[in-house]
């Protein structure tokens, strides 16, 4: 048996609701399954005529202008009764919700205003929005007088130059783009380790390079006054070391800074000259830690490894950096495969293994080509563990060289997933009758949230040779891979 549509009205005598209110009620009821059309009006002659015109006026309906009329056309009686009941409920409902809360600030200007009102007027903007917009946000921040820590990358080099010029003119820091690490007035930003406060001011165009140097200084008993990141491109010919030189001037004037250390991959030659001039002008003991540059003592101390830079800086404070390479016997010639999370750590290893004349393939898994669509390996070790596990089935690979980076923002549990992968790699190598030597270093301090000692113990328990520095790990790997000779000053 099929039922025909039902039209029924309900009159609420002397109940007034604004027409807007009634239209909203009708619109809500019309969304009910089986309801075809709803009219909700005050019973004025004009409104009843509107209902009649749209065939929504039941013949028996009697209403006066003070009455509220609900008319429902639905597929069956039950639907219509239900809708009229819902209408009655809605009309007698009492709302108790309070006023809306204020939304969070959404723009730089709103953020500054809100924070200032709350007694926390900002002096630095940390920016990690997509690179396309980072230049706009950074300029807004600089023009509002804020220093900028710009974690975002993919910024056009012209924008970087423009923003850094703007910052220098206003005596502000433009850290980045692509700046991973900073410690400003003792407060860590991005990937930074928990290092002691002290008198070494670091300017770094390299994130993990700065982390390694600051951790090694911590190990030597030296502390950090400021760690100013400048972004990986600052010492390129295009950017001309704009921010590095500005930061050096700033540290030269900083009473808490006794020794200045600049950390970078090799700069453009003309930029390097200007940098060294600036360091001389600073009038404080200084170390230029420029990867792969030959060591020199003039015009300032130049060191070609992170470890060498940290050692030189410690010595300037009368401290010494003790790094004991593990006692291992030289292995047969075979390939070293380096699977790195830290870009500058990979670069340092490449320099040292190159100098040792060892066959080595060093991969920076934090490089752009590996991080499209996946998180950085310092945050999520997932992809690196795949690559480590696969290393076991590479017949040419005899030594696996790894880094583990601790500190804020890094993975809370970086080592455990690596160990599982190492065991898998060893199993597949063993099945082929090969041995896989695994060498690693941990870039971190006892104060880091992950705990330096615990991470080292986890590695040792998995038969990994754990070294005190990334450079030491590279030397050890070279020796294990049959390095025929040592390199003066670096490889014993």
């Amino acid at each position: 048996m099929t039922s025909s549509p039902v039209l029924q009205a309900r009159v609420f005598p002397r109940l007034y609701r604004d027409s807007v209110n009634l239209m909203a009620l009708a619109s809500a009821l019309e969304k009910t399954e089986g309801v075809i059309r709803v009219g909700a009006v005050m019973g004025t002659p004009a409104n009843l005529e509107i209902l009649a015109r749209s065939q929504m006026l039941p013949e028996e309906l009697a209403a006066v202008p003070d009455d509220l009329v609900i008319v429902v056309r639905g597929v069956d009686q039950a639907t219509v009764t239900g809708a009229l009941g819902a209408a009655a409920t809605s009309l007698t409902e009492v709302r108790e919700d309070g006023p809306a809360s204020r939304p969070a600030p959404a723009t730089v200007a709103e953020g500054i205003a809100a924070a200032t009102k709350a007694g926390h007027a900002p002096n630095l903007a940390a920016i990690s929005v997509p690179g396309t917009y980072a230049a706009v946000v950074a300029e807004q921040a600089l023009r509002s007088g804020l220093h900028v820590f710009c974690f975002s990358d993919n910024m056009a080099v012209e924008d970087e130059v423009r923003l850094k010029r703007l910052a220098v003119a206003d005596e502000l820091l433009m850290m980045g783009p692509d700046c991973g690490t900073a410690i400003v007035d003792g407060r860590p930003l991005g990937f930074a380790n928990v290092v002691r406060a002290g008198s070494v001011g670091i300017v770094a165009a390299s994130g993990t390079g700065a982390q390694e140097v600051s951790c090694l200084l911590d190990r030597a008993g030296a502390g950090i006054s400021q760690l100013i990141g400048v972004g990986g491109r600052d010492l390129s010919a295009a950017v001309e070391g704009l921010m590095t030189r500005h930061a050096v001037r700033l540290l030269a004037a900083d009473d808490d800074t006794e020794v200045i250390v600049v950390v970078s991959k090799p700069p453009a030659p003309e930029v390097a000259d200007r940098l060294l001039e600036e360091l001389v002008r600073a009038g404080k003991p200084a170390v230029a830690c420029l990867l792969d540059m030959p060591d020199a003592e003039e015009p300032v101390r130049v060191r070609g490894t992170l470890e060498g830079g940290a050692r030189a800086a410690a010595e300037l404070l009368g401290l010494s950096l003790q790094i004991a390479d593990p006692p291992i016997t030289a292995g047969v010639p075979r390939q070293v495969l380096g699977l790195f999370a830290g870009g500058t750590l990979a670069a340092e290893a490449k320099v040292l293994l190159g100098r040792a004349g060892v066959d080595a393939e060093i991969i920076d898994l934090g490089g752009d080509e590996y991080t499209v669509g996946r998180p950085h390996p310092m945050i999520d070790p997932g992809y690196r563990t795949e690559r480590i596990a696969d290393a076991g089935s590479r017949p040419e690979t005899g030594v696996l060289l790894l880094d583990v980076v601790l500190g804020h923002a890094a993975s809370a549990e970086p080592t455990l997933p690596l160990i599982e992968a190492i065991e898998a790699a060893r199993a597949s190598a063993g099945a082929d009758g090969r041995e896989l030597v695994v060498v690693a270093s941990v870039c971190g301090t006892a104060g880091d949230p992950q705990g330096l000692a615990r991470q080292r113990e986890l590695l040792v328990s998995a038969d990994v040779i754990v070294c005190d520095s990334n450079a030491s790990a590279a030397r050890t790997a070279a020796l294990a891979a049959g390095a025929a000779q040592t390199v003066e000053g670096e490889l014993r």
């Binding site: 604004d18 807007v20 209110n21 239209m23 909203a24 009708a26 619109s27 059309r37 709803v38 009219g39 909700a40 004009a46 509107i50 749209s54 929504m56 008319v71 919700d97 309070g98 006023p99 809306a100 939304p103 969070a104 600030p105 959404a106 723009t107 730089v108 924070a115 926390h120 900002p122 002096n123 630095l124 903007a125 940390a126 920016i127 990690s128 929005v129 396309t132 917009y133 230049a135 706009v136 946000v137 300029e139 807004q140 023009r143 804020l146 220093h147 820590f149 974690f151 400003v184 007035d185 407060r187 860590p188 930003l189 991005g190 930074a192 700033l250 900083d254 945050i379 804020h408 923002a409």
Partner: protein
């Protein structure tokens, strides 16, 4: 020390500042600026300087200094500039040719042509309009504004809002039902227009002369405290205006008929609200470098925006129908794209911007007074100053947000909300609902490009 204690504004990942004391971090709920248009974001940034701020201060001083007075009701041909020469009809929104107009606007133009006696019947009027026999120009080009189709004919009476040497004009509101502004042009409609021309207009003019000019700022300020928002709800202002003029009207011939007309029309004051807002906003037209919006208007096909620093230039984008609540028997499929000059009220800072004042119509924006308050607070993010003469009681009498800044719209991604009536897409059916619309982002993107190009 680099800072006196690091205080961070974090734009992006919370991870970056996880090591800091949360009390020293302000996290932004950030989204891409300029609706994701990088070039427009940069153009906006290039304009965000002292020169623009000074220009906007000047614009806001000028806008808020205006105190429109209703000084009379006169035939358009006598007072509206350019209405005395040849056959001309004005319409709402930015310029548009007859062929591209929507149904209600064409219908209204046909009705106006019949009212002026330029054609004997609707077909004749249609032919005359299509053949270009009548100049069609926006109200805004003649210091006038009109709701919905906004059609103004030379013989129609207009409200004259004046302050100092300047005036702005608006037609008289016809009420609801079958009316010209929704495109109806039958004999009932044209007959009512004749009556308004011959009886209503002169009567109100006479009453204004007898009782003295009406200060619209005071009128609408009071109405905002009585639950109006001066765009979609005008029952308080209409009542206050009728009360003020009634003793004079009652003494006139046809006085009772005029009072009955006013008693039946909850929206009579809307057109006065519009004329006052138009006069106020015109004070800022052409102030160099100012990024303050001076007009938002829709012609049923396009949305038009004008900005102080670009003078009389229109920035336009296609417009869609309002998302609203519909009268019984109608839905969004019946709705005409958004229409009318009435968004001049939001341009000044009332209407949708004053939602907090108008609890009775909060259903348009979610149903609670909290939603209404949130809407007004959101409009604060894109405006320049509170209006000193329009305090909103629910916001502790803070002034309604006034002076839309193109740069703030782009920076926040917040679009102006506009309260509006909804017309049926076919001429003459009339109003079928009401609701809110947001201005389209494209007009702000175009405006910032033009502003930057003038630098």
């Amino acid at each position: 020390m680099i800072t006196d204690g690091l205080e961070v504004l974090n734009v992006g990942l919370p991870l970056i500042v996880e090591a800091l004391d949360p009390a020293t971090v302000t996290q932004l709920d950030w989204r891409p600026p300029a609706f994701g248009d990088d070039a427009a974001a940069r153009a906006a940034l290039s304009l965000a300087d002292e020169r623009t701020r000074a220009a906007n201060d000047k614009a806001m001083d000028a806008i808020h200094a205006v105190r429109p007075q209703l000084v009379g009701v006169k035939p358009a041909t006598e007072v509206v500039p350019g209405m005395a020469e040849g056959r001309i009809l004005l319409h709402a929104g930015p310029p548009i040719e007859f062929e591209r107009m929507c149904g209600p606007m064409r219908g209204a133009l046909i009705g106006a042509t019949l009212l002026e006696g330029w054609a004997d019947d609707p077909d004749g009027a249609q032919r005359l309009l299509a053949s270009g026999g009548i100049r069609l120009e926006p109200c805004h080009h003649h210091q006038a504004v009109g709701p919905m189709a906004g059609v103004l004919a030379p013989s129609m009476p207009v409200l004259v809002a004046s302050d100092g040497g300047r005036s702005a004009y608006a037609s008289l509101n016809e009420g609801l039902g079958r009316v010209l502004r929704f495109g109806a042009y039958d004999e009932e409609v044209v007959g009512r227009l004749r009556w308004m021309r011959e009886v209503l207009g002169p009567a109100i003019d006479r009453a204004v002369q007898l009782r003295g000019p009406v200060d619209t700022t005071a009128l609408f300020g009071q109405a905002l405290a009585m639950g109006d928002e001066a765009h979609n709800r005008n029952v308080a202002a209409s009542s206050l205006l009728a009360r003020r003029l009634a003793p004079a009207i009652a003494t006139l011939d046809h006085g009772v008929a005029v009072l009955e007309f006013l008693a039946a029309n909850d929206h009579f004051a809307l057109n006065l609200s519009m004329a006052g807002a138009k006069l106020s906003m015109d004070a800022a037209i052409g102030i160099p470098d100012s990024t303050i919006v001076t007009a938002m208007a829709r012609n049923g096909v396009e949305f038009g925006l004008r900005v102080a620093g670009t003078g009389e230039q229109w920035f336009t984008a296609p417009v869609g129908p309002a998302d609203g609540l519909f009268f019984p028997g109608y839905g969004i499929e019946d709705a005409n794209p958004d229409l009318g000059d009435s968004a001049i009220t939001e341009t000044l800072g009332v209407g949708g911007f004053a939602m907090a004042a108008s609890p009775a119509i909060t259903q348009f924006i979610g149903g609670t007074t909290s939603d209404a308050t949130a809407t007004t607070l959101r409009m604060r993010r894109i405006t320049t100053r509170p209006h000193p003469a329009f305090p909103l009681p629910p916001l502790n009498f803070a002034g309604t947000p006034s002076g839309i800044d193109v740069l703030k719209v782009l920076d926040t991604g917040v679009l102006p909300v506009i309260n509006t009536g909804i017309a049926h897409r076919e001429a003459g059916v009339g109003q079928i609902g009401a609701g809110i619309v947001e201005a389209p982002p494209e007009v702000f993107l175009a405006a910032v490009g033009a502003l930057a190009a003038r630098r």
